[in-house]
Symmetry: C2
Subunit: 597 residues, 2 copies
Amino acid sequence: MANHFYSKRDLTFHLYEVLNAEQLTRLPYFQDHNRESFEMVLDAAGQIAESMLKPLLTEMDRKEPQLVDGKIRVHSGIRPIIRRFGDDGWINAPFSYEEGGQQFPATIMNAATFIFGAANYSSSVFPFLTTGAANLLRSFGSPELIETFTPNMYAGRWQGTMALTEPDAGSSLSDITTTAEATDQPGVYKIRGQKIYISAGDHDACENIVHLMLAKIKSGPLGAKGISLFAVPQKRPENGHLLDNDVLTAGVYHKMGYKGAPIAHLMVGSNDGCIGYLVGEPHKGLSYMFQMMNEARIGVGMNAVSIGTAAYYASLEYARERPQGRPIAEKDPSRPQVPIIRHADVKRMLLFQKAVLEGSLGLLLQCSYYADLVHAAEGDEKEKAALLLDLLTPIAKSYPSEMGCLTTSASVQILGGAGYTTDFPVEQFYREARIHPIHEGTTGIHGLDLLGRKVIMHNGKAVTLLLAEIQTDMAAAQVSPEGEALSNQLGAALVVLDKVTRHLLSLAPSDTEAFLADATLYLELFGHVVIAWQWLRQTTVARQAIANVHDDDQNFYQGKLMAARYFYEYELVKIHALSRRLISADRVTIEMQNEWF
Amino acid sequence: MANHFYSKRDLTFHLYEVLNAEQLTRLPYFQDHNRESFEMVLDAAGQIAESMLKPLLTEMDRKEPQLVDGKIRVHSGIRPIIRRFGDDGWINAPFSYEEGGQQFPATIMNAATFIFGAANYSSSVFPFLTTGAANLLRSFGSPELIETFTPNMYAGRWQGTMALTEPDAGSSLSDITTTAEATDQPGVYKIRGQKIYISAGDHDACENIVHLMLAKIKSGPLGAKGISLFAVPQKRPENGHLLDNDVLTAGVYHKMGYKGAPIAHLMVGSNDGCIGYLVGEPHKGLSYMFQMMNEARIGVGMNAVSIGTAAYYASLEYARERPQGRPIAEKDPSRPQVPIIRHADVKRMLLFQKAVLEGSLGLLLQCSYYADLVHAAEGDEKEKAALLLDLLTPIAKSYPSEMGCLTTSASVQILGGAGYTTDFPVEQFYREARIHPIHEGTTGIHGLDLLGRKVIMHNGKAVTLLLAEIQTDMAAAQVSPEGEALSNQLGAALVVLDKVTRHLLSLAPSDTEAFLADATLYLELFGHVVIAWQWLRQTTVARQAIANVHDDDQNFYQGKLMAARYFYEYELVKIHALSRRLISADRVTIEMQNEWF
């Protein structure tokens, strides 16, 4: 199918067959919804993606944002896109009716995010960022701040951003030096500093930009404990006017990919004229920001899957159409060439993409489901979901991000020389995918988060809960021989994971450095296990469904069963290499010295 | 060190400490040379690389070749570079004195290739292609053809190319449809067809282009057996004039990376006016071409290492200078941040690059050394070198190419957000590295070559010879405890390789499809083992040398010992995942059907 960039059938499978997303509507917050309203949203997302976002994919890559006279100019197609997201209620759709929202579950919103990102990642980040910034304001801001800023943000007239990074503070956020100085008005501060890599930090497709900015109130505590959150508009609304707020754009970054989205370098308060409004309490900025970052991390994982999925379908289409070579066993040159999808090595590269991407999509939707339970359920159910979501977030962000670089690489490889040219979109997807292991916390940071924080929190309670979930799914998988086979392999993988985890935790008290030195590898190992779990769940559903269907559905479920087998055969086995390293006593990366390189 | 893009110290180590390249001068063909003449070449290469190639690295990426009025215009800096290569004798340096060459060993020429590629890969391919094309002519062409074409090629006035690929014949070369029709002059044919992806296939930095082109003589045999080789100039030299030869440039490809090199789409003989000169005998074109392709494959592997090395040093420099975060065990925020090279995870990413790249460089120089023995030695020594070179070529091409995508990705990751911007060169290296698993035979093709041809040729004699070489080096490594430890691990890896090889060969008679389905994974496994062998050799040398040196040399050898440890701890262990898949009976990639995707 030409221009196929995602599979609605697969989304339906995840949402309603594996996850039973309709069950969310039993919760009061979501009670007005049902599968029909979910489907309306996803159909609308598909329609916007197809008609507005996808047509600009290539053009936004070729015509990068430029800084002209102090203002970043973006592609002219972005303004109508943002307004459309505002007009149609996408930006505040998850928020409550009182806030003008529609109380949509994150599960459905993130499925829409997946569709938008697959169509054109760069264009989809604008409204996504505004939602995140608005969510911080409505969660922690005063009623006055909310009233001042959010209506225009919801409408898509004002852009929201997360303004965290500074020249000397990227991964180490506690080292920010942007300062906030109290004025005589309560909650009103003078802000001074520099922010870099601010996504949508300045552009001409909105009327104003609202930065949710981290800064340190003068004379506050050192490090992370001294960070506060401020709303810092580019233009300050006062008495019905928008006044210049001394947030200057010093530059726009030119990037390898996702070029359509402007990433700004901002000078804040250089002329002593920048006002910021404290959001929530002083010194709690980092904890507030983590709310948005955790949501954003699921979003990044989802967009990694989006880009990978668009590349997967592009390579699948090519593999079906491109004749080259003959089957291994029939090399007669007088016979016509066959489409390359007939070659086992090409099918391997396609199955690799399918297995990684559909496994990741399952995980991300499941995390979104947990987020909905955290938001709208109560008691044990809420607490359990919160722990599972906390534990799985570094994996749900990093596994798809790291693997997306490899799946898009497989797409390029399938197209061969053609894939390396700009005549096909896969090279763009390869470039775009590379951002995800970097932004919203590098993979290294997420490894430390998983092993150094999430695995040990509450005495390992989250891991215990996850294992119970997996074991329930392993029991459910026993209904078919292939489910049983995968279940046994997953059981063996859990033993490996447990052995490695115990070994690493045993190092923690005496040798923190060795404990965490290979946290990135631990994250990878954990990721393989979690995605294997997702494929076990998908296998159980597919095996049960396949008996009663024909034609396309039969093919669909066969594909699921094969992709699961692929994942266990080719991907899950990687834990046996990782575990060898992770239990080794060789401290080579610690002992290595700067001057020996 | 600013602008450090390769290590001369490391090259010295490989050439003279590990490989003993001076020993080549005992062979009559190389007898006029010595270490001093080798060093003069490498110093000259370094000087040209530094002064002419490297300054254009970024600019050639930003100002792509353009097709203007039927002619591809390249960066104006390329013409002086090609002329300099011609004037200084680089293009024919490996050829004999009678041919105007200098009888330089491939080992030294490829070391120079490494330096040039690390400075600016795009610019280095022009003379490299001319050398390859000239080599075909001088090896197989008539004296008249040689006299007509090669002097101008050696001088850098005429560009040489390899013109193989067609719209319907990429990996499957036997399907080319370009035709050659005999004229009344012997050896002179009319050529008609289309060629795509022709590197340096047209540009304005030379006066003429000489295509070494594959075509099928009309009424010849079907398939690969009917392919002949022709010299097809863009302009035909006749009576002291250059006449248009009806080779039209239909397009220039815009690519993800290595943009400075023009890749052309050619229409050959569209106006019935293209003359080609038969090179050698009819129908032997493919076997002739393989001579050049095998050399080119070592060259591609070398350039993959070049690009990776430049990226490695860029990321090393950044890691040493960029302060961010604090040591795991001393998180006091009042202490200054430390350079990121202090973090184990960053050292891991640096060691990964170092271990892969310096291991690959060792392998490629060793293959070059074998090529010199094939060329200039006799008897058993020659035969043995030929078999080892044949066996190792698919690995020497593919391992660095595939891994180069990952090492440049690690460079980007070390720089974080900065690495994704065009403010630093690593994003360019990441884009450039991606071509290597594609051109000169995709990785899939090399997997089939290794398993389906090289491993089984002469009843496995090449593998037997390689194992004997490795075992000799394992015995030599026993002199130190770390050598002994690595040697034991390598011995265990050889057992795994042997087990996998036997299993796959057992499938060959009854199930060719299963035998070759995972040839790419087999290639990867074999690659890990071969690079581990290279690191064992390097360890033995470093361990012996380190006792008697100080300061920089002490640091250098320490780095070697650590990188070897890294390779065995983190990379070699991957064979334990690959072998599980390779001995599995699950035929998932074969059984997968088109319609199930």
